[in-house]
């Protein structure tokens, strides 16, 4: 049951094959068994069981709230949850219990979803590995998959397998791992430069970053307000559409959300792609791209072409300036957004009480890790009066050029862009930490952050396993607010590629009952 998609399990709930409480308990039990993945910071067991009980009552009365009623979900720990600790994986917010729910959390709860817990991340979502939070790194479930283990055995004998676990990518690695390891059916991530798509690609799940303004940011503890978007991590594209349909729409509490009403939608099953025009941005073919990803990328392009779609090479000429521009804008907003953490109203406060200034300094030194402090320092530097024009204003201008690149391409008739999501498959943690957070972020956000600067929707869809048995995802980028069209194309692609399901039986051999009659390998991805 746990291996099913959200839609399938929703149908099972409606048909009474399983009750919300059973489902909830199974997920809780699996969360406990996969605790070593470190996917969750907080497991809200009591809350979830209570919600399951309520949901069960509704089902018994035939008053189900909809597709999400009774469905276990997880939420990244940078979304505010009323009464549940929200830490951003930072000492600064350890023990902070928000008095309100983020709009997206509230929308999930209003639909009857069961909140299993809060998932791990890089501190304040600053990172691309889910390795830099105070609760430690998240381990990629694929590290323990049959597919990866078998390949490892063939290649390297005698190596300590346990110490060679893989990173999930990030910063929404906890959410990606939670969905990938079947501990929930959907999870919320946040995406500022690729934080939802990157771990989705590494964990073999679907990671959607909706159009900026389509989904409310109210309650999402910000990284970069002008780029942050709540994202979804799901097992399939249809599930992404289901969750997006619930989350999307105007929120009076977020002035940057669209005014027009958004209705929940079901994705059509595309049969004919001959009217479709797929753009392949030539600038995304960088030397750093692994040969495996590159070959899968061209294979995907060929797939579209062979099915009658028009596939053309396009140019996004300002791509190479994107990452440095992103760095300036991101750190500047970070410097500003982090100013509120002063130890006065909430969060960590140091013991120093010599003066208010000394208290601020010590609180912030103790509360933030080096990555956060470095970004605050850089950002404040860029915002100084003497630097503002040369850095911030220039970066804003470049941002506009980058956004215009996309507009030009879409105006030329391209429907969606097809790109890699990541340079390669997930790397072992030991290898990942050889470079610092900033370098890693710059490397790993390369294909993803331009989309955030332009506010466009993008989705990472797992395509195939690498020679090492690890997932590789490709990214589709759509026109602003054409999220539905984007997902329709992604769904067609997903159906064609038939990405294999993660095989975790070996890992969870002692909980095989969970997977009984699941026939994991045969889970149909419609």
């Amino acid at each position: 049951m746990l291996g099913r998609t959200l839609r399938e399990v929703s149908a099972a709930l409606k048909q009474g094959q399983v009750t919300p409480t059973e489902l909830c308990q199974r997920c809780l039990s699996l969360i406990k068994k996969t605790k070593f993945l470190n996917a969750y910071i907080t497991v809200s067991e009591e809350v979830a069981l209570k919600q399951a009980e309520e949901s069960e009552k509704r089902y018994k009365k035939g008053l189900s709230l909809g597709d999400l009623d009774g469905i276990p979900v997880a939420v990244k720990d940078n979304f505010s949850t009323a009464g549940i600790e929200t830490t951003c994986a930072s000492n600064m917010l350890k023990g902070y219990v928000p008095p309100y729910n983020a709009t997206v959390v509230q929308k999930l709860l209003d639909q009857g979803a069961l909140l299993m817990g809060k998932t791990n991340l890089d501190e304040f979502a600053m990172g691309s590995g889910s390795t830099d939070g105070i609760f430690g790194p998240v381990k990629n479930p694929w590290s323990y998959s049959k597919q990866y283990r078998e390949k490892r055995k063939q290649k390297s004998h005698g190596e300590n397998e346990d110490s060679d676990w893989l990173i999930t990518g990030g910063s929404s690695g906890g959410s990606a791992a939670a969905v990938s390891a079947f501990t929930c059916f959907a999870a919320l991530g946040s995406d500022t430069g690729g934080s939802t798509r990157n771990p989705a690609a590494h964990c073999g799940v679907v990671g959607l970053k909706p159009s900026y303004g389509l989904v409310s940011r109210h309650g999402l503890i910000p990284l970069v307000n002008s780029m942050d978007v709540p994202g979804t991590l799901t097992r399939c594209v249809d599930d992404a559409a289901t969750v997006l349909g619930i989350l999307a729409g105007h929120d009076p509490k977020d002035s940057t959300t669209i005014q027009d009403p958004v209705k929940p939608f079901t994705l059509p099953s595309l049969t004919d792609v001959s009217k479709l025009c797929i753009g392949i941005p030539k600038e995304y073919l960088t030397p750093a791209l692994s040969s495996e990803v590159r070959s899968l990328w061209s294979k995907a392009a060929n797939l579209f072409e062979s099915e009658g779609a028009k596939v053309i090479e396009v140019s996004l000429p300002h791509t190479s300036y994107s990452i440095v521009c992103y760095h300036v804008l991101c750190t500047s907003e970070v410097a500003s957004n982090m100013a509120r953490f002063d130890g006065l109203e909430y969060g960590h406060r140091c013991d120093t009480d010599v003066s208010t200034e000394a208290m601020y300094a010590a609180t912030r030194r103790e509360g933030f890790n080096d990555v956060v402090r470095e970004r605050i320092l850089s950002g404040n530097f860029f915002l100084l009066k003497e630097n503002y024009e040369n850095y911030f204003v220039k970066a804003q201008k470049v941002r506009r050029l980058i956004a215009r690149d996309f507009v030009n391409v879409f105006n030329s008739g391209v429907d969606v862009l097809l790109t890699p999501t990541t340079l390669s498959e997930a790397v072992p943690h030991t290898e990942f930490i050889r470079e610092d957070n900033r370098t890693r972020s710059a490397q790993n956000d390369i294909f993803t952050q331009a989309v955030n600067m332009a506010g466009l929707p993008a989705v990472s869809v797992p395509m195939a396993l690498s020679s090492q048995g690890l997932p590789i995802g490709l990214q589709f980028i759509g026109r602003a607010f054409c999220d539905q069209q984007l997902l329709t194309v992604a769904k067609w692609f997903e159906k064609r590629v038939q990405f294999p399901v993660i095989q975790l039986q070996e890992l969870m051999d002692d909980c095989s009952s969970i997977f009984e009659n699941e026939k994991l390998a045969s889970v149909s991805l419609k």
Partner: protein, 512 residues
């Protein structure tokens, strides 16, 4: 009766009209004697503009002072600029604080329509150009009563620019020698107020009250077109009246709803402007005038003694009557301005550009607001002068006291007395008594009808002027005044009437 105005208009200064010391009720008194004599008496003290009053001694050159003002007016709105919290000056500490006001992470600003309308109306009343598109910025600094670590303001593109404010000052020997001056309005911007810090030195603690945090402010920047404290005070008083007439701010300086910072410099005419100082936190027009004049004199003496003026922030010590440098631990701040990413550009429309089918709740039509503008004080005064042949200074005096104009107009409706007489009675006798009793017009025991009736009696010569004044005395609660009236009646009846009966009749009449 003492002439309280003298207390705030020192010898050697020009006169400004009643009510410029708007902050305190005591400072607003009008002499009880007849208007003309009272004023004549006072105007003899003051003549020359302050700067030229400093007669240059031999070999010395003249000085000119340049004064600009920055005004923060709290917007009269039910809720704060970006949150739904109520605005209430007198609420218990931290009782009006939303999650946004306390800067809880994840909260976002939502612009209050009423505050935007208030800014547009104020801009229109000050002949500003209203920007169809304005932007919000973050201004960063760490302070305990600024929970977010930044203030949302409009630094780059404010809502209104390039306006003007006309105000009147008296220049000559006589009250009637009033001139209208104009000060440019550089810009009006919307911004958030901060919270309040209360320093408990005894326990070396700072207590924070966030009730005020996030209340909408109009920052009005006046160009440095003024040259002395009186001009500044008169401009502020006029602005105060305009804001009150518009209802965009209660503009009560004593309650901090109107806060003024002054930028002051001196130079020799024809030479470049001098280094300026900023005098902060002036909480009454009277102190504003005093502080500016003090600061001008200080700068002149400093420069004449070979000293230098530092570009610094000073505060006014109202007890000592001088400005002192403010202890600024932070030194020169870099506010690291940045666009506020959570608020889209503020777009305003006019009847021509209004998008068709737009939700009226979501758009603001400048032309519609222009139509709704109430009569401005300048127009009201002109009308009074035209309609009643009133002297301009009297029209000023009538507007300077809350409710006085309405009182006057109600008296006028019911009496046959000459407007001049009514004006004199309202401004002198009536207002004088109110001042004496420390009452606001709304608290007056004398109704407009009663005064109208009294003036009618006076008009018909049924009673004398002094008797009429004693009637008002009785009405004001002076029981001994009735004895004088009894005496008058006895004299009128040649001693034939019984004093007890007279008293009964009078009391019945007066209490009716």
């Amino acid at each position: 009766m003492a002439t309280p105005m003298l207390r705030w208009c020192c010898p050697g200064r020009r006169w400004i009209f009643a009510g410029i010391g708007g902050g305190s009720r005591h400072g607003r008194g009008v002499p009880t004697g007849s208007t003309s004599s009272g004023k004549r008496g006072q105007s003899s003290v003051a003549q020359q503009p302050l700067i030229t009053a400093q007669k240059p001694r031999k070999g010395e050159r003249e000085w000119a002072a340049v004064v600009g003002l920055e005004i923060h007016a709290q917007i009269a709105s039910n809720s704060k600029l970006f949150s739904g919290s109520q605005v209430d000056f007198a609420a218990p500490p931290n009782s009006l604080v939303s999650f946004f006001d306390a800067s809880l992470p994840g909260t976002l600003p939502v612009l209050n329509r009423r505050c935007v309308e208030a800014a547009v109306m104020t801009g229109l009343a000050l002949d500003c150009h209203i920007n169809r598109k304005s932007l919000f910025d973050r201004k960063h600094y760490f302070y305990a009563d600024l929970p977010a670590g930044y203030q949302i303001t409009q630094q780059r593109l404010p809502i209104a620019v390039n306006g003007s404010l006309a105000y009147s000052v008296c220049v000559g020997q006589r009250w009637s020698q009033m001139v209208t001056r104009t000060v440019g309005v550089k810009q009006i911007q919307l911004e958030q107020d901060s919270g309040k810090s209360l320093h408990d030195n005894l326990r070396s603690q700072t207590l924070i009250d966030l009730n005020r945090a996030g209340v909408g402010l109009l920052e009005v920047v006046l160009e440095p077109d003024m040259s002395c404290g009186e001009e500044a005070a008169a401009a502020i008083r006029e602005l105060q009246l305009i804001l009150q007439a518009l209802g965009t701010s209660q503009a009560n300086m004593a309650e901090g709803q109107l806060r003024v910072d002054a930028n002051i410099s001196v130079h020799h005419p024809g030479e470049p402007l001098g280094v300026r100082t900023e005098v902060k936190n002036l909480n009454s027009a009277r102190f504003l005038a005093k502080a500016i004049d003090y600061e001008i004199q200080r700068q002149i003496s400093e420069l004449e003694n070979g000293g230098k003026i530092l570009n610094e922030t000073r505060s006014f010590d109202y007890k000592l009557g001088c400005t002192v440098p403010m202890r600024d631990k932070e030194g020169k701040q870099d506010y690291r301005f940045m666009p506020e990413p959570n608020l889209p550009p503020l777009l305003l429309y006019d009847s021509g550009s209004l998008p068709t089918g737009a939700d009226p709740q979501q758009v603001i039509d400048i032309d519609q607001l222009r139509e709704q503008l109430p009569e401005l004080p300048r127009v009201t005064r002109e009308k009074l002068v035209r309609q009643y042949g009133m002297r301009p200074e009297h029209s000023f005096a009538l507007l300077n006291e809350v409710g006085l104009l309405e009182f006057f107009q109600n008296v006028m409706k019911e009496t046959r007395a000459e407007p001049k007489k009514v004006t004199s009675w309202v401004l002198n006798t009536f207002l004088g008594f109110l001042k004496q009793q420390n009452l606001a017009v709304s608290e007056s025991p004398v109704t407009p009808s009663a005064l109208a009736e009294l003036l009618d009696l006076l008009d018909r010569k049924a009673i004398s002027s002094s008797a009429a004044k004693q009637v008002t005395d009785v009405k004001k609660g002076n029981p001994r005044a009735i004895n004088k009236l009894i005496g008058l009646v006895r004299r009128a009846t040649l001693g034939r009437a019984d004093p007890t009966v007279i008293k009964e009749v009078l009391e019945r009449q007066l209490s009716s």
